[in-house]
Symmetry: C2
Subunit: 695 residues, 2 copies
């Protein structure tokens, strides 16, 4: 429970200062300015009062119970202060001071020290090296923070790793007139974590939507769990910065490095239904729509405009966001005629023209409310100086109050003119989300619609295949581990695949040419022969792979050749496998992500992965729905259906294979990396042809 942090009835400021340009002074003035309803106890070694409030020399002296303490003192004194806080019964501490783990070893030792004492004395730590929290509840008004934006009460709560971005978002919301509920920026986050705060926001009844800024998670698994819990109750809008490092990582063609840490965060957002943004302004503007509007039931939008060009821009952006702008039915158009001016264009967008007044806007709105094929309403409203703009605003507000369908409004005006300010205030007070240009408004509606589809999306539960032999697979890996082998042999890999029902082309491992020929005869020609030796990593480049061998002579020759060139690496074995020409090459892989389990990758093999980097990822366990999404989300997905007269591939078999891989990874978390490259896919059936597992 973080109530002591977010709902403190009394706050002590350890390190209160009489100097105006100091954090220990700004925090007290912020509490005062914001109208904090609790008690403030400044601590200062010499001053009798700070900011007009009686100051104390020690925590002990404070006559009352204290819930929360700010700590703004040199880092070396912090551990003792935490202990003192515990002794005073203080349950939560915000350490604003810097000088801990971010500064190297000595700081890290201090951090460990205060954490240990915090645990011993029952004190939860927020920070260090952080801003603090805000609770806008009119009954409390706790501004335990040194920043400068004073948010109005509202329903949006913000949590940001970076104080700078947190402040930025808070300011952007304030500028848009969006009320806020809770705010937290926890810097080093050594104890109270972002997942914990997100969970608290999830439980907070006053919070209707959560905004999150992060640069990655120290414990992604913990966040995934928290996010799953909270997104079931309310929307989370999130932004992850540090995207370009990910870009650099994704540029590499190796499976392992195709899946960077940064992909993981986006994948968590996707898996848990968090709405992801790459622009902080866009996120704040979307929050304005979330704060007042219902979630659209579908992606069909009706557009009302009193000006042409902005409707073209809006259409462009809405369509780019995945919305559809459906044609209106004949009946709808007939009904529109009753209210519209003769020069109005009765299509979608409905151009009510610049001279339209309140009754034209209202008529168009009513028609779109009744139209079943429309899920949301987009309005372009330019305050034409020759119309009664207040009346137009009042009509929009009346319809908005019905809350039947979400409405966003691009409101084009000059706010330096009083009469248009009034029009703006009518819309604002009526809860209409208004934007200064069509692209911004359209993107906000796009976010609502996208969230609607995330809410409706059901990825299902992971399937459990019962025809697997988990014990056998586990024992193979245990054996390898005991023998100190991190890369499994071909025999090991294919035996594990067999144990999980992963279809592979028929294979055998043999020791020499004669055995290879016998194996090939048993398997049936043509075959592939590959050298099987841990020491040889890039078999193909080393000449350790011979494909499409059609008879005994060819097999003999291939093995002799490898023996003579590669024998120096040690005792060679040979992997003989059915050669399967003519299928579509796929690649399926997995990597372990610290604290998160595995990321599973799917793509088309060959140049598609090497040159186009065209792959998709999911976090294991991968459900049937998610596996299907992996196939359809690559850019070259059309190739899976067959082109130029080729047959399409067996999607069902691939989806099945991905799910079996997912179960294998779930059962064998010690797997660090796994590659099936290629997987050969045919019209019927799919076969892992080359496999690699690293533990």
């Amino acid at each position: 429970m973080l109530d002591s942090l977010f709902k403190p009835r009394a706050v002590a400021i350890v390190g209160a200062s009489t100097k105006e340009l100091s954090i220990g002074n700004v925090i007290i003035r912020n509490l005062q300015k914001y109208g904090y309803k609790g008690k403030i106890y400044p601590l200062n070694p010499s001053a009798p009062e700070v900011c007009g409030i009686k100051a104390y020399k020690t925590l002990e002296e404070i006559p009352d119970q204290v819930d929360l303490a700010h700590v703004i003192i040199p880092s070396k004194f912090v551990p003792q202060t935490i202990e003192d806080c515990g002794k005073k019964g203080i349950k939560a501490v915000i350490i604003n001071s810097a000088g801990f783990s971010e500064l190297g070893e000595e700081g890290a030792r201090l951090q460990e020290d205060f954490l240990r004492r915090g645990k011993e004395f029952g004190v939860r730590v927020f920070g260090p090296n952080c801003q603090g929290i805000i609770n806008s509840d009119p009954e409390l008004k706790a501004y335990c923070n040194f920043t400068f934006t004073y948010p109005d009460p509202g329903y949006v709560s913000v949590v940001a790793l970076s104080g700078g971005v947190g402040a930025l978002i808070m300011q952007a919301l304030a500028d848009l007139g969006v009320g806020q509920r809770l705010y937290a920026s926890n810097g080093n986050a050594c104890d109270i974590s972002i997942p914990e705060i997100v969970r608290y926001y999830g439980e907070d009844e006053g919070t209707k939507a959560v905004i999150l800024y992060t640069e990655g998670f120290s414990n992604p698994g913990e966040f995934l769990e928290a996010a799953r819990e909270v997104t079931a109750k309310k929307p989370i809008l999130a932004m992850k910065a540090g995207r370009t490092e990910q870009g650099a990582k994704a540029a590499s063609s190796h499976t392992g490095s195709l899946a960077g840490v940064d992909i993981a965060t986006e994948l968590i957002f996707e898996k848990t239904g968090i709405l992801s943004f790459t622009d902080e302004g866009e996120m704040a503007r979307a929050a304005m729509a979330f704060a007042t509007q219902p979630i659209p039931k579908g992606n069909h939008v009706g557009i009302i405009t009193n000006t042409g060009g902005p409707a073209v821009i809006a259409t462009d952006v809405l369509v780019s966001c995945g919305l559809e702008v459906p044609k209106l039915g004949e009946k709808t158009i007939e009904k529109l005629k009753e209210s519209q001016l003769p020069e109005a264009a009765l299509e979608n967008p409905i151009d009510v023209v610049a001279t339209a007044g309140g009754s034209q806007f209202r008529g168009a709105l009513d028609v779109l409310l009744d139209e079943d094929g429309v899920d949301s309403i987009f309005i372009n409203f330019v305050t034409a100086p020759f119309t009664d703009t207040h009346e137009v605003a009042r009509q929009i507000v009346e319809v908005n109050r019905l809350a039947k369908k979400p409405i966003v409004c691009n409101f084009m005006t000059d706010l330096s003119q009083g009469r248009f300010q009034i029009t703006r205030d009518i819309l604002k007070q009526g809860g209409v989300p208004i934007y200064a240009n069509p692209s911004d408004a359209a993107k906000a509606l796009g976010a609502l619609v996208k969230y609607g589809s995330l809410k409706r999306r059901d990825i299902g539960l992971p399937e459990t295949f019962t025809d697997v032999d988990a014990a056998k697979a586990r024992s193979i890996i245990e054996q390898a581990r005991q023998e100190g082998r991190s890369v499994l042999s071909a025999t090991d890999v294919y035996t594990i695949f067999d144990a999980y029902g992963i279809p592979v082309a028929r294979w055998r491992v043999v020791a020499n040419a004669a055995e290879a020929v016998a194996a090939a005869e048993a398997i049936g020609y043509p075959v592939v022969v590959k050298v099987d030796c841990e020491e040889i990593d890039h078999k193909s480049d080393m000449g350790g792979v011979a494909v499409n061998l059609k008879d005994a002579a060819a097999v003999n020759a291939a093995v002799d050749d490898m023996e003579s060139r590669l024998g120096s690496f040690g005792k060679l074995r040979y992997f003989v496998q059915k050669f399967l020409p003519g299928g579509r090459e796929l690649i399926i892989g997995a990597t372990a992500e610290r604290g998160l389990g595995h990321l599973v990758m799917f793509g088309l093999g060959g140049i598609y992965v090497e040159v186009l980097k065209d792959v998709s990822f999911k976090i294991a366990p991968v459900t049937r729905v998610e596996a299907g999404e992996m196939l359809s989300s690559i850019k070259t997905a059309a190739l899976l259906d067959g082109v130029r007269g080729e047959k399409g591939i067996d999607r069902g078999a691939v989806i099945n294979l991905i799910q079996r891989v997912s179960q294998l990874l779930n059962d064998l978390p010690m797997i660090q990396e796994m590659d099936m490259n290629p997987v050969m896919a045919f019209e019927k059936g799919v076969y892992a042809v080359d496999g690699r597992i690293r533990i």
Copy 2:
């Protein structure tokens, strides 16, 4: 010369009205409010005065010379009024009234009528169905427009097809505090065109940058010429709406429809060095930077920040915009140490930390000004309440005044607080472009950098190959035209290719199997045989193509088979050509664009064009540099260099071929469509294997 329009010394308002909510009233009040220095002559059939100004019944009555008239009367009276204007010596008319070509035939007739009379009586027409113009020149202050934003004087001029978007951009610039020079929105644009206005802005010394909004051009060639002229003198920032239709068009796999009208506009922007935007807000914010900052010499940026997270976001966006954030040299870091606080991070971004004051900011700025490896400076400046923010602003302004390198500033603050308003005003008055969040600021800098690279880019002049036989090609096309053939025969096509030095695989056209065999023997096996008959369009689907024929028997069999199945189409001929296996399939094509010449297309053939739609376009004539850009701008460009041990293709030969195609199109403008699909490209050499020309 559009001086009568943009610099009127006297304006008549035909259709002046005493009704406040009417255009004929709003325009007069706008002129008054904005402080128009010229004379205003309202025309009204009954009122003795309008808005306190003496009104006239007819133009004749006006005692003085009039330069410009607004016409706000029912459309049917407009032609006579234009004639009256001419008689009065009025050189320019803004027709605000609607009811012309946009309303169908009758309106179009009226439009033709007034255009004819305009020409006869020397009156240039602006509109109809339009807003008007604004000239902010303090000596004139002409607000000949019915919209509501009153821009401050400045250096940015705006031209917009749509009045709504024009007003939007004007308002966005005003909100950002960006001064404006000229404004024009010309609606139906039946006489004075956007190219003409752009040219006028180009010649206007007070205009330092042009902003353009369009939804396409009625005469793209005229615009291309005007844009080429103006971009040589000053930057044009432009936005084209209606992008999603283009998306739909580009989805079709046929060459012809891959090149839609909308691609053409973007290609004109590219060819003439216009900076293209897809977001109107982003364009206005970029204009703020263009209004005050020099153009960066390169793409290396130095970042100064007093807060962590926003610098991460800025880095993401800057890198996405193509900028580099270089490491600082050791000497630079040493020099930084002299001015920075001990806890500052002396990397790039330079984190001066939240407690940094003016001297820390100044120290960092000076170092970046001196650093050769840095072309521009990005500042994150959050107004930490415990610093002297005014002093920080003053230092930034002092450095900005040096104008040595472009500076943009993400200025994070709460403007509802007076002291931060002062800080803002210091920056604003000092000409520092400031933005409310890091993404917006970074995109504005990105636009400056992109413009710098457009300015430095030299596409060169089209080459002229002298070894071509234009007359021969022209006579073939003339012959086809006389015979009423729009699709040329294979012989025609290959003869034209030969005439332009476009390399083709050896070929002959024959009449029967025996001749086919003889041709094949002469060419050398293997060969391809294709039926050559205008009636058969999709030869391949019809079984009219046989590839890789290795001997006489195969050629015989192929021809016999085609004869028996396709003979019913008429007298068949056969096209026999050397079969060239093993190359990389390319596709090169062209389509005629109304009023613009030809668009030339390049792509990889087969699935790359069919499934991935991975093609690039240029407007002919295509220079060597542009042809090179066509090759490198497709997404699968890496395949041209060879992958997986394959050899790369002969880029020089492909570039040469594209230029020869360009010259052919230039010489033969009657060509409507041309396809070479495939062109086979090898390590050495390139051959058009299948060609099609439609006239």
